[in-house]
């Protein structure tokens, strides 16, 4: 197998993801604004928000229990840990085995689970509503994600993301199999759901009836809310990174600084493409009713299943 990734590189990549997460969000927001012929906020706006949040004090609901304060911490930790599993700069498995795609999805699921718990804690109707909807969507998204992962893993014979992208090698869209196209299509369908964007969720509104993820954050405030927001930024870029690792080649295998820079550039480009896609989708579609979402995800499911079938048959 190619390109062992030393542990410090893994940590570096993780830190990179955490730092770049808000930037992606800012970029998407800016692009949306442009597409809607608005000026829009600066790309770095998310950083400003975070900085402000971390400087604020905390207001906690009277009914909240002891768990409430630690929820944001755990959520953030789980999400960032997931970030450690995505290959960013170089392909190939890490020097010391850490986790694979299943572990990544597991950590994201853990974060989501804890968020839902936190939403219940305050005891308002909105938190419960948000949690209910989130936990309705999630079980439908996860299997499809897994199937996409399987569809590539069956070919590569591993579920370790680094190894997967290494196996993908320098191959390019040209020699994709039909299965890859279908899998990628499924992934594109899932992306908005996983990143909490239109048409599944609307990150901008706090109108009770439309929001999923935001509803769970209602009772969080100050640094806690900051952690949650940072976590959602990270979650977004981690998901994009997952797609990249699964479907786009990692350009560089060398160990030199130059290779790393090339890899970084390539990664940035890939993320940029996906971000643009998200922005386009979000500004050209309307949000779906909750009970339409399963049908929407159904498209992804069918694509993924077909992709698997093509792999196996």
């Amino acid at each position: 197998m190619t390109g062992e990734r030393p542990i410090e590189l893994v940590l570096l990549e993780m830190a990179l993801l955490v730092l770049l997460g808000p930037l992606v969000t800012g970029f998407i927001q800016k692009l949306k604004a442009r597409l809607q012929c608005r000026q829009g906020a600066a790309i770095v706006q998310p950083y400003r928000d975070l900085a402000k949040l971390f400087r604020k004090g905390t207001v906690q609901a009277v009914t909240a229990s002891g768990f409430f304060r630690s929820i944001p911490v755990l959520v953030l930790a789980a999400t960032v840990a997931a970030g450690a599993l995505v290959p960013v700069l170089r392909a190939g498995p890490p020097a010391f085995p850490l986790g694979d795609a299943l572990m990544l999805l597991g950590l994201l699921a853990l974060a989501r689970f804890l968020t839902a718990i936190g939403a219940f804690d305050a005891g308002g109707a909105f938190g419960g509503m948000g949690a209910s909807r989130e936990m309705t969507i999630a079980p439908l998204v996860e299997p499809v994600l897994m199937m996409v992962v399987f569809s590539t893993a069956v070919a590569a014979g591993t579920t370790e993301l680094g190894a997967l992208s290494a196996h993908r090698g320098t191959s390019w869209i040209l020699d994709w199999h039909a299965a890859d196209f279908l899998g990628f299509a499924a992934m594109l369908v899932l992306l908005p759901a996983e990143t909490g964007r239109i048409p599944v969720d609307n990150p901008d509104t706090h109108l009770e009836l439309t929001m999923l993820h935001e509803g769970m954050l209602l009772e969080h405030s100050g640094p806690g809310l900051g952690c949650m927001v940072l976590a959602s930024h990270t979650r977004q870029i981690v998901t994009l990174g997952l797609v990249a690792a699964l479907f786009f080649p990692i350009v560089s295998y060398g160990a030199g600084a130059a290779d790393l820079l090339v890899g970084a550039g390539a990664f940035a480009a890939k993320i940029l493409v996906l971000a643009v896609f998200l922005a386009l989708v979000e500004s050209s579609y309307a949000k779906l009713r909750l009970f339409r979402v399963p049908q929407y995800l159904g498209i992804g499911f069918v694509c993924a299943l077909t992709a698997l079938a093509l792999r196996i048959l």
């Binding site: 009277v62 911490v73 804690d121 996860e142 900051g226």
Partner: protein
Amino acid sequence: MTGTLLMAACYGAGGLSSLLARWSGRLALGVGHLAALVGAVAGLGVSLGVLVGDQGRTLTLPLPELFPFARLTLAVDGLSAFFLLVISLVVIAAAIYGPAYLRAHSPGAGPARQAAQVLALNVFLGCMAFVCCAGDALTFLLCWEGMTLASYVLVVAGDRDGENARAGLLYMVMTHGGTALLLVAFLALTERAGAFDFAALRAAAGGLDGMTRTTLFFLALGGFATKAGVIPLHVWLPRAHPAAPSHVSALMSGVMLKVAIYGILRFAFDLLAPVAAPLPFSWGWTVLVAGTISAVLGVLYALQQHDLKRLLAFHSVENIGIILIGVGLAMILWRREDVGGALATVALTAALLHTVNHAAFKGLLFLAAGSVLCRTHVRNMEELGGLARRMPWTAGLFLLGAVAISALPPLNGFVSEWLTFQALLGAASRFHGPAGLVIVFSAAMLALTGGLAAACFAKAFGVTFLGRARTPHAEHATEVPPSMIAGMVWLAALCVALGVAPGYLMHLLDAPTTGLLHGPGASAVVTAQGPLVLSTALTASGTDATAISMTMVAALLIALTAMAWVLRRGLRRAPPRTAPTWTCGMSPTARFDYTATAFAKPLRFVFAALYRPRRAVIRETAGTPYVFQRIHYSGEVVDLAETQIYHRVQRGITVLSRTIRLRSTGRIHGYIGFVLAALFVALLLFGVGQR
């Protein structure tokens, strides 16, 4: 050897201690559970002795000659030892937890009831332990039925209401039917072998032809599946388990079902396995598909339950399904070198690992639910809420169990499901064509199961422990006594240990895996890169191993948590203020909290085709139809298997019997006529023309 005897002696003593109830029920409870505890420790010793000791070693202990036609023996090999280990681990917790629970839950219980409970409990434990240690068919059957009978007593002895009796009846009847199948399977072997001990049965099975072999296997599978609660044979489970005292529920759900798994493994890989040939395809595929269906439907039904213990019981159906997926894969792959290789070991390891994991977290969850129950006397979670502040220990431990059962890292549930996934993927990459599709589909279903389980436990934990107390029951709850907490902590520690450092258990799995598969042991395959790393080889060539390290991930999580905690403290040290929850400006009450029904409603819509939900809305309007005085909503989700199969069969039999009974006129002429007719027909049938 001595350990086995000690175990028997302890359970026996525990049973006898029920006599103490004559003087003091409290004393009887204490002594009985203490004896059970010692017995469990002895069992632990025995099993570890076999598992850690040299491979392939088997303890055998002939019992006194009781029946002229069969000699009772005990034989503890790797597989038995492993299940004995699982049993003992949970029994320890239950024994610590039990006395305080029984006293707290039903203070008014008479000594007779307590005596019955202690006696039944110890008989139950002893029989469970010895089913796994049985060395011959008769011992197996006797202990098997003893186990059923004792647990039946525990179910019906709980409370004196008819509900328990009905649950017990259903339980008893279904398992009895299962035992009938087992009887046939066993006796068919014993009559060929001319003896009852397993060695002879093995030898006799060697000469079977394929058809008979498969028939016997499916008979046995039916029997065990009934006990394991595999859909559609599960209907007794969600009724019987909640009816028992909670620590007994923990044992029934966490351990007793596993004994059925033990039976399946014993039959498939040991007794009926052909000599040096792979198992027939039909076996593995049946088990795999049945497991998948049980997993998905089990969790789907669990989602719609509002009775805490019932919900947990349905999750047992789900987890048994997950275990069976692993078992089925192992059956499919075993001895098929072209596809199998070491993968059969991975599958079996996954199944066994999930067995012990499920025992740990399901036991923990049932004990925590029991703590809630004995403080609030309410099982319906809609009437609970806000317990986290009143029972912090119970809440925390329940949360831990919830994370574990939802297969979320870094706890143990994730490990076994990860292994199962790896086995599934490996099999999928080997089998091409429809077979591979089935495998992949069950992998997807397994993923769906995980997600739904997370949703279900978010609901269970959130509605039960968080938010406001909805009823006085919940308001006046207090934390349970330390002994009960200790019992739960023991299992919680198991969950964490198995989750963070699973590699160290693999050595204990060597004996059963090698013993059954005659191949490489679990540790050789799964922890090839050292105990900290779990790795599997997906391709037949063994290259491209996928490797994860639960330990590393856990460490990373802890480090990140510490860092995040610093962040969370904020840059400015402002003391946190408290304010009422925001509810659009209204003053919030408990009625604002999201109920379990509401939480599960979207999923009920999504899976309406499976649920067939029934809902009834009754509107009481004042004079005009536009003014509602009260709206009463009632909805329920019916168990398809129950309504479609069981009720119809039962109704059919009853109606038939009624009609037959009504036909009988009590006139003596009819009686005489029957005698005469019988003679006439008999003479014509047997008498005439045979010379």
